[in-house]
């Protein structure tokens, strides 16, 4: 008998350990659920961690109002299936109340102002730990995140003053009003996530599979047509067979041309991909440090 775990089993064991630490160390934790594959995997791992009990965390969705309808349906079905509580923070409501103001112009999106709604939702519900699906391989600022990432009372991240994390001892102590972001998938890569979805047969939104869709070409990607996008006269609407590698707000999530309509094909496609998965995210392209700047303010 070889007492050795495969890399997926070891990553799974680590994430389950982290989720159980969150439950044990915090009063009022929640999962930040976007409907994307990473937060779906986190939710799946939470089921595993507390089986046969229900997930002891509500799912929190920060809704920009600019959604793929498929994502919302998927979210509602999942919540029903696992019997979890859903809490929705509405960006539209933040705008209506004057807490946030909409960007102007052709590439306007609600990505940045999500942070306002997110921090407001955390404060209103008094969450002291928000579990997210962010991974360190996604982006260079995220490569420096801890599993337990401290946020001050303004929700801000101070990357230069993070608590050292040694062995598997996590320090979640905090003062009243502060909270933690917790990232159980810290050590997973995009490939690990897809291999795991395949190995565990985890349900994901149909948007991840290749399908025909009306799109326009903008900034080197295929942007989906929706009610929330402004189209120039010079831009041509075409139908392409595409799939999405990441899911975010519909206005900023670009698709790739693809024939991958099964999980096996997706895994193969990811294995041979020459672009990072966030390469098609408008929000990351704004500057070299746009993720770091947004994270310091309290972004996901």
């Amino acid at each position: 008998m070889q007492y050795n775990l495969t890399h997926l089993k070891e990553l799974e064991a680590e994430s389950i350990y982290v989720l159980r630490e969150v439950f044990a160390q915090f009063e009022n934790p929640a999962i930040l659920f976007s409907g994307g594959k990473d937060s779906i995997v986190v939710t799946h791992l939470a089921r595993k961690a507390f089986h046969p009990a229900k997930i002891p965390f509500p799912l929190v969705h920060i809704d920009t109002g600019h959604n793929f309808p498929e994502t919302i349906k998927f979210r509602d079905d999942l919540v029903d299936e696992i019997g979890a509580k859903l809490i929705v923070g509405s960006v539209q409501k933040s705008i209506d109340e004057g807490a946030a103001s909409e960007e102007k112009g052709k590439n306007a999106n609600r990505n940045a102002i999500q942070t306002i709604t997110l921090l407001d939702t955390i404060e209103t519900n008094q969450f002291d730990a928000c579990i997210g699906g962010a991974r360190r391989d996604e982006e260079k600022a995220r490569a420096k995140e801890r599993f337990f990432s401290h946020r001050d009372e303004f929700g801000q991240w101070d990357p230069k003053n993070q608590r050292p994390e040694l062995w598997n001892i996590f320090n979640g102590k905090h003062h009243h009003g502060e909270h933690f972001r917790v990232f159980p998938l810290s050590n997973w890569t995009e490939m690990d996530v897809w291999q795991y979805i395949l190995a565990e047969n985890i349900k994901i939104p149909s948007l991840y599979f290749a399908h025909d869709r009306q799109v326009i070409r903008r900034s080197n990607t295929w942007l989906p047509i929706s009610d929330f996008i402004q189209i120039d006269e010079s831009e041509e609407v075409v139908t392409k067979k595409i799939r999405f590698r990441t899911l975010g707000d519909i206005t900023i999530t670009g698709g790739d041309e693809s024939d991958a309509d099964t999980l096996e094909k997706i895994v193969n496609e990811v294995a041979s991909a020459r672009q990072t998965e966030r390469g098609n995210r408008e929000d990351d392209k704004r500057s070299e440090t746009s993720m770091e700047d947004r994270k310091k303010e309290g972004y996901f």
């Binding site: 680590e14 089986h51 040694l166 598997n168 001892i169 490939m191 190995a199 020459r274 990072t276």
Partner: protein, 428 residues
């Protein structure tokens, strides 16, 4: 849409292992270049990442694309051209997935090296072939030894700048071996490389035919890591208790945790510490069903035959092999905080899932991590110092020596005023 799997080919990735390694070197040893090279030559760099780095290199007026920029994460680092924190990198070959804890080499960042080293199976130590074994090489090796990293690979870098000379390599190897014999290190290897030119990193060097060993990547792919976990002493720190309290699982009581060491099986005679109650393992449960044995580092739930009081902070162990409960704990401590230890101050101490308070009763000595000299006079402990201390805790902790068990032999100290993790300790 076909969202289900029938049969798929498991070969090629489902049997991959995970290796965690840390990289250490002084400023300008070429550490970031080496990591960049590993990622680049193993085809783990995406086009858009490379484009971004090429653009930054151009902006800085560099002639070549600087692969080191791939690993510099934060704005300040990119501006100053140095690494200021632990950054984690990932890459995979068909054989293994690798996690790199990239830690900076400056003197003031011992704490980051200790942090990166705490979870590593392997340490890469970079030596500049022109400079040989220097103070920072010794410092990094001593930390690797203190943290009990099972494997050390000494990469003698910049061989291209010493004409790929075997003599230079042999001299450094000899110097290092004579120094490392004083340390507690089990497995040391030496590889002559040029990270900049790519010699012996992923591809064999054409310039060093005298070197008969393997390349760095081959070494990392084939290090034997199966024995890195302790599979002898059964230790199961309880994280939380799972009680569904629904009709189907009315009386279910599962003790959830991650196996720290040893192998647990249903039917095993166990003792719950600190209470000392004994029972047997009834079942080992996971979401995917009951399993026949559980070993480190698996996360499972254990049910016991008897209804006894067990909670977070307790430890389930084999009845015939127990840790030593103790309130007086000697440990090698690395101080991590700007604010040094206050005399007789109390800290929160965390050991596995157990919390208590601790007082530093005595600072036995400060360790000079360049010379191994023990200074018993200087008790002024500052950030990045490593010292031996005696701790007195408010309740007995169920400890093993760190040499025997990295999980049940480690502690952290937390300042109750700031909640910051101020020290990390390895129990002697």
């Amino acid at each position: 849409m076909d969202n289900t799997i029938k049969e798929h080919d498991n070969a090629g990735y489902l049997d991959m292992e995970l290796l965690r390694f840390t990289t250490a070197g002084s400023v300008d040893d070429g550490k970031s270049t080496l990591i960049g090279r590993l990622l680049y030559d193993s085809k783990s760099i995406f086009e858009d990442q490379l484009e971004q780095v090429a653009k930054s290199s151009e902006r800085k007026g560099l002639e070549q694309t600087d692969l080191a920029l791939l690993t510099d994460g934060l704005k300040d680092e990119r501006e100053q051209g140095i690494t200021i924190d632990v950054a984690y990198r990932y890459f995979a070959t068909p054989k293994r997935k690798f996690i790199i804890a990239d830690t900076p080499g400056h003197i003031q960042y011992t704490r980051n090296m200790v942090t990166g080293a705490s979870t590593a199976n392997c340490a890469l130590i970079l030596v500049d072939a022109r400079n040989g074994v220097i103070e920072q090489t010794r410092r990094h090796s001593i930390i690797a030894s203190l943290l009990q990293i099972p494997h050390i690979v000494v990469c003698i870098n910049k061989m291209d700048l010493v004409d790929y000379s075997q003599e230079a390599f042999d001299k450094i190897k000899e110097d290092y071996e004579s120094f490392v014999s004083k340390l507690d290190v089990k497995d040391v290897r030496f590889i002559p490389i040029s990270a900049l030119k790519g010699d012996n990193v992923v591809n064999r060097s054409k310039e060093m035919n005298w070197y008969e060993g393997s390349t760095l990547l081959y070494t990392l792919e084939n290090l034997h890591i199966g024995s890195d976990h302790n599979h002898i002493d059964c230790r199961f720190p309880v994280q939380t208790v799972i009680r569904p309290k629904n009709d189907k699982y009315h009386d279910y009581r599962g003790y959830a945790g991650r196996i720290a060491s040893g192998i647990f099986k249903p039917g095993d005679d166990i003792t719950v510490l600190p209470s000392g109650f004994t029972s047997k393992v009834k079942s080992i449960d996971t979401f995917d069903g009951e399993i026949e044995e559980a070993f480190a580092p698996m996360s499972v739930s254990i049910q016991l035959e008897d209804d006894i009081d067990v909670g977070r902070g307790d430890m389930i162990v084999r009845t015939n092999n127990r840790p030593e409960p103790s309130q007086d704990i000697e440990a090698m401590v690395c101080w991590l905080n700007n604010q040094g230890p206050k005399p007789r101050a109390k800290y929160s101490i965390r050991h596995t899932t157990s919390d208590a308070k601790a007082m530093i009763k005595d600072i036995r000595y400060k360790l000079n991590i360049s010379t191994l000299h023990r200074d018993e006079e200087d008790k002024d402990v500052k950030m990045n110092d490593i010292c031996k201390v005696l701790l007195r805790t408010t309740k007995p902790l169920l400890v093993d020596s760190y040499r025997k068990n990295r999980i049940t032999g480690s502690i952290i100290l937390v300042d109750d005023a700031t909640n910051e993790t101020v020290a990390a300790g390895m129990i002697v």
